[in-house]
Each structure stands twice: as structure tokens, then as C-alpha cells.
Symmetry: C2
Subunit: 338 residues, 2 copies
DNA sequence: TCTGGCACTCTGGAGGAGCGAGTGCCAGTC
DNA sequence: GACTGGCACTCGCTCCTCCAGAGTGCCAGA
């Protein structure tokens, strides 16, 4: 186990390195922090920290920089979450309050998060897996062509065209609409399949084909829509990731374009509490030199989706975590209100 | 006016520079192209071209590189549009044919274009200004809460919540729905306002408030939805823009994030035919070192939206133009079919 | 009008020196 | 035993110089 002071030295190294982006030496450390010991002592501590793998030297005769393991320790034990200042909170609220619909909420969130952290922001759309159905509507566009509109409690609306096997009367349509709604409104997506299972049977034989088709489409929509979508923003901030970035920028940009990768990334984050993945902890290679801070957000107690930022491993973890947490809370609040 | 050979020299310079990314000298030029004259002659020609502002020297004793003006001449007079090869065309068709809905079409297009040109692709969603209404639906979610669903002929669906000033009966709702549809279905967005103008008058006094609210929301939706949206892809390709890119990459990324800027950019492009904006011809500063190739696409004769790519000024113009044109055609085709 | 020749310019890379920050180790002190 | 000051050593960085090579402009001649 590392002594109190050694941890303090590690903390100082992380802080300085994050600030300056330059390897930090023993002398500079003692000058900038009140460690109460001489550079020589710090050097000994550093040697120990290096043996343990928390810091490394880019080359002999250079200062030390934290390793992924070092950042990990820093995040877990040495750093708290830095709460945002009151003005910052106010700004968030002002910025978010103008949102008019779901797309707008997500769009604003992503911009806000990018600005606040000066990193790349990733916001997942509220997932529909835990959502409930608010309304199902069926419209006849043509005698044998229907449109299915699904409205969820998170305010998302999905529509699907349906080509019916045969003509479907207005009465049957109204009937189906009514029965469908009485069964599924307020229910969770996952419960819908069994709730509508026996519906075709209660219809006239000639209408059953259409009813079955409609139900199939509905279920399909439910499944497809539980596929996650997300929005990213602040891509221009990757230029801040480090001066050596020309090498690393490409894979990062590529990873950011692959929404599937990002969704997986967010999916791996814990449902509650904040998840920080540092450097090589990220499964995706392109993100091996970045850290991801993610957190769930939701309208109630349950997280309906996740959001986070992607930044350089040498990021200001307390500040970033604070911003991410604060934004998640406000979004949750907004979502709960609407 | 420049002589035939001088134009040939310019063409050779552009081609070589695009290929190698290095300033091209007189000797290398004569070796690689059959100009039939000696380096000395080429030097004289180059001096003239430089005087005219078509090429420039990064520094004395280096080769020449084309200026924006040089590229302009190249594009206008010296280069054609390089048609895609048959396999390429097939690949496009295969890639696009799997598209299931509008979002998918646009998404595929953007990816395709990015891959084909290895540059950043920008695709505008089909504009609704020229669209017509396919159907308007009204649903009662609660006694005084309606949902308006607007379906357009391009397959886009928009919905809006409406809080009514007072309760609105099922009969009145059906009535409004029917009358609204009989008036606007098949009509252009721009015509809708005057078509529904006198609608409130024909309703009972107690319902007029709600009817007015609904109409207001409808018109608002029409206006808002004619605001353009777009999708971009292939951002990772900016790393290809040049080896000096660390300087220029940032403003480009920022410009790409500002969809408003991009929409303006596309908006400035000609409605028919291809538009190429080179370097400083782009109004937006961040894009001063890039070129934009844009073209309109549409389901019929009219262009409903535009698409294009953003690349380095030293891009393969004929190839890029060929790819952009081909993709636009296929998208138009797909749109016409659906 | 084109060509070959020639002197000149300038960049980019190689090689080398000196600086300075930083280290590891060791002997001495509290 | 923990901490400190001192000291020799390492090594990247910057600056300099030098050189080669590519490219130019100009001129006289075909």
C-alpha cells in the first residue's frame, strides 16, 4: 500500500501534467505544491510510483507522466467530483430551458456538454426499452395502405407504412385502433407482444390478415426503435487532445463516426453512478488514448439512456465528471417535466 | 489569352500536384508529360502562368503549386467530369438499393459519398418547400391535448403536441380532420396557409379557439420543417486534407459542426448543374483552404435538395465531380421510386 | 520561338555542440 | 529509519553550420 504522501505526489503529478501537458519533474513539483519535503524525497517516491506502474518516463532524463493506471487511482481515490459553480448551473438551466422537443433537448445537451468540457460530447437518445406506449394510431392512406404511428412516453414518435393483404374497412380500422390502444397504452414495450397476441382471433376472418400484418409491423417497430441512436458534438475539440494529435486524431474520428462503437461504449457504462474508462480500458483501439466519462440519465429514478464525453486521457477528471453529472441531472429533469 | 501549351502546362501542374502534394518543377514536368518542349520552355511558360496568378511558388527555388485561380481555370476549361467505372456504378447501386426509409437513404448516401471520394460528404435532406401534403392526422391524447401528425410526399413524418384552449369533442375532431385533409392533401406547403385560412369560421364558436390553435401549429410545422436538415459523414477524412493540416483542421471541423454554415454553402450552389467552390471562393473563412463540390438532386426534374463533398483544394476534381454526380443521380432515382 | 547552359537561391536534412531539466545514488543528518 | 543535499550522469531539445539537390531566371545562340 502506498503511503499518504506518495498518493499526494501522484495527485500533484496528475494535476500538473493535466495543466501543463508536460512531463513533471521532482523539483517543479516541490515548488508548486506544499509537500513539505525536498525534491530528493519526491524522487524516491516517484521511483516507487514508477515501479508500481502509476507513472512513467517518456524517456530517461525527462519528468514523469501518469499512466492509465495512475489516472485510474487518481479518479478512484484521489479526486472527487468538482461541482459546478452557481453561474455555470444557471447557464445550463437557461440553455436547456428553451428546448422544444426531444431532438432539441438532445441537440442542446450535446452542445452544452461539448462547450462545458471542451471535449467531444456524446448523448444517447432516451432508450425505448423501458418506455411505455402512449398512443398507437392507425390511418388509412389508401384502401389497402395504412400508416402506423407510435407515440411513446418519452415523446418519441415513429411511423411505418403498411401494405395490407386486402382492403380494410373504416369500421374495422376504428375497431382495431380502439382495441389496440386499450391493450397497450401505458404498457412497456417488452410487454406488448403478449398483450396483443390473441388480437387477430377476435376479428372477422377476412380482416385477420391485415390485423396480423399491422401487429407484426408494430412489434417490428418496437424492436427496431429500441435500437439506440445518439448524437455527438464538439468534434472540433479533438484538436485539443494533445499536440501530438496528428497521429491519434484519425482513429478517434473514425471511432466517433461509428455510432455502433459509441453505443457499445455507453452501453458498457454502469447504469447508475458515473463510469470512467481510461485509455486502454476502452475496448475500441481507436480510443486507447482517450478517456470516456459516461453517466446514465433519466426522467425518473431509472436511467433511460446515457451521455458522456470523450476526451484525452490527460483531462481534468473532477471538472469533467462534475459537468457530465450536472448536465445529466438537468436533462433528466427536463425529460421528467415534459 | 493563354496559348494552348501553357494551358497544357497548367493542367500538368495541377495533375501532378494533386497526385504528389509536392510543388512541381519544370524538369519533373517534362519528364512525366509529353509536352514536346524542354524544361527551359516550360519555365518560361510557368513564369507567365505565375504572372497571371494561376500558379505560385511557396518559396523561391521551389516548384510551383496551383492557386485557387489556377484550380478554377482547370475546373472550368481543362478538366471534364470523370465518369465512374462500371464496377463503381454497380457498387453504388447495390449499396443504395437496401435503403428502407428516408433517413436510411440519406445515411447511406453520405457514407457512400465519403467512401467514394475519401472526403467529407454532406447531404441535405429533401427540402419540403416543394413538397406536398400527403395526409394530416389529428389524435386526441387527452380531452384537451391533441397530436398533429403531418405526412409528406417525400415520406417524412412530423408530429406536434397541441394543448387546446378547451375540450374538443370527438365529433368536432373528426370533422376538423376530414375538412383539413380535403383541403390540403396533395397541395404544396406554400399553398396551405391560404387554403385553411377561413376554416375556423365554419366551426361552432366554442371550437374555434382549438381549431385556430391547430391551424397555427400546422402552419408553424410547415414553416419549421422547410428549415433544412443535413447529414455529414467521412469526417475522419479531413486527416487526408494535407500534411500541414493541424493548422487548418480546426476551423474546418468547426465549420462542419455548424450545420447552418453548410446549409448556406449548399444553398449557394446552383440549382442545376454542378457547383465547385474553390478555396477562398467559399464565404466561410474556415473553409478557405477547402473546395466544395455540390450538386442538386431530386426525384423528378426539380432538385429537391443538394449534396456534395468538402475536400482539400488540391483534390481530384474530375474524379470527385464524377462521384458526386453519379451519387446524386442514384439518390434521385431511389427517391423517385419510393 | 525554343533550347542549352550557367550562376544563383533556397529548403531540407545531416551532423555536432551546448544547455538544462531531470534522474539515481550515496553519504550524512535529525 | 526517513529525509536531505550533493554530485555525476543521461539525454532530449535547440541552435548552428554545412552540404546536396532541386529549382529558378536569364542570356546567348539556333
Amino acid at each position: 500500500m502506498l503511503s499518504e504522501r506518495r498518493l499526494e505526489v501522484l495527485r500533484a503529478i496528475v494535476q500538473d501534467y493535466v495543466g501543463t501537458e508536460e512531463p513533471v519533474g521532482s523539483k517543479a513539483l516541490t515548488e508548486r505544491h506544499n509537500l513539505g519535503v525536498s525534491p530528493a524525497t519526491v524522487r524516491n517516491d516517484m521511483a516507487v510510483l514508477e515501479d508500481e506502474g502509476f507513472i512513467a518516463q517518456p524517456h530517461t532524463s525527462a519528468g514523469r507522466i501518469p499512466t492509465d493506471k495512475g489516472y485510474r487511482l487518481f479518479v478512484d481515490k484521489l479526486a472527487g467530483v468538482k461541482p459546478l459553480s452557481l453561474p455555470e448551473r444557471r447557464a445550463i438551466q437557461n440553455f436547456m430551458d428553451g428546448a422544444v422537443d426531444l431532438d432539441d433537448v438532445v441537440g442542446r445537451t450535446v452542445r452544452l456538454l461539448a462547450q462545458l468540457t471542451r471535449q467531444v460530447a456524446v448523448v444517447q437518445y432516451p432508450s425505448l426499452t423501458r418506455s411505455t406506449v402512449r398512443h398507437v394510431e392507425l390511418l388509412a392512406l389508401a384502401p389497402a395502405r395504412l400508416m402506423l404511428v407510435l407515440i411513446t412516453d418519452t415523446g418519441r414518435v415513429e411511423q411505418r407504412m403498411i401494405d395490407c393483404p386486402g382492403p380494410f374497412g373504416e369500421t374495422s380500422l376504428a375497431d382495431l385502433r380502439a382495441r389496440l390502444n386499450s391493450r397497450v397504452v401505458g404498457r412497456r414495450f417488452t410487454d406488448v407482444p403478449q398483450l396483443v397476441q390473441d388480437l387477430p382471433e377476435s376479428f372477422e376472418v377476412e380482416d385477420r390478415g391485415t390485423v396480423t400484418t399491422v401487429l407484426a409491423t408494430l412489434l417490428e417497430t418496437l424492436v427496431e426503435e429500441t435500437e439506440e441512436r445518439l448524437m455527438i458534438g464538439g468534434t472540433a475539440n479533438i484538436t485539443r487532445f494533445g499536440h501530438d494529435f496528428p497521429l491519434t486524431i484519425r482513429p478517434v474520428l473514425e471511432a466517433l463516426e461509428e455510432h455502433v462503437v459509441l453505443l457499445k461504449l455507453l452501453g458498457e457504462a454502469k447504469d447508475s453512478g458515473m463510469t470512467v474508462r481510461i485509455g486502454h480500458e476502452n475496448a475500441h483501439e481507436g480510443l486507447n488514448s482517450t478517456s470516456v466519462v459516461a453517466v446514465g440519465y433519466g426522467s425518473g429514478d431509472e436511467a433511460v439512456a446515457k451521455l458522456g464525453v470523450v476526451g484525452p486521457t490527460r483531462m481534468d477528471y473532477p471538472g469533467t465528471m462534475g459537468a457530465v453529472r450536472a448536465v445529466a441531472r438537468y436533462v433528466g429533469q427536463i425529460l421528467a417535466e415534459s
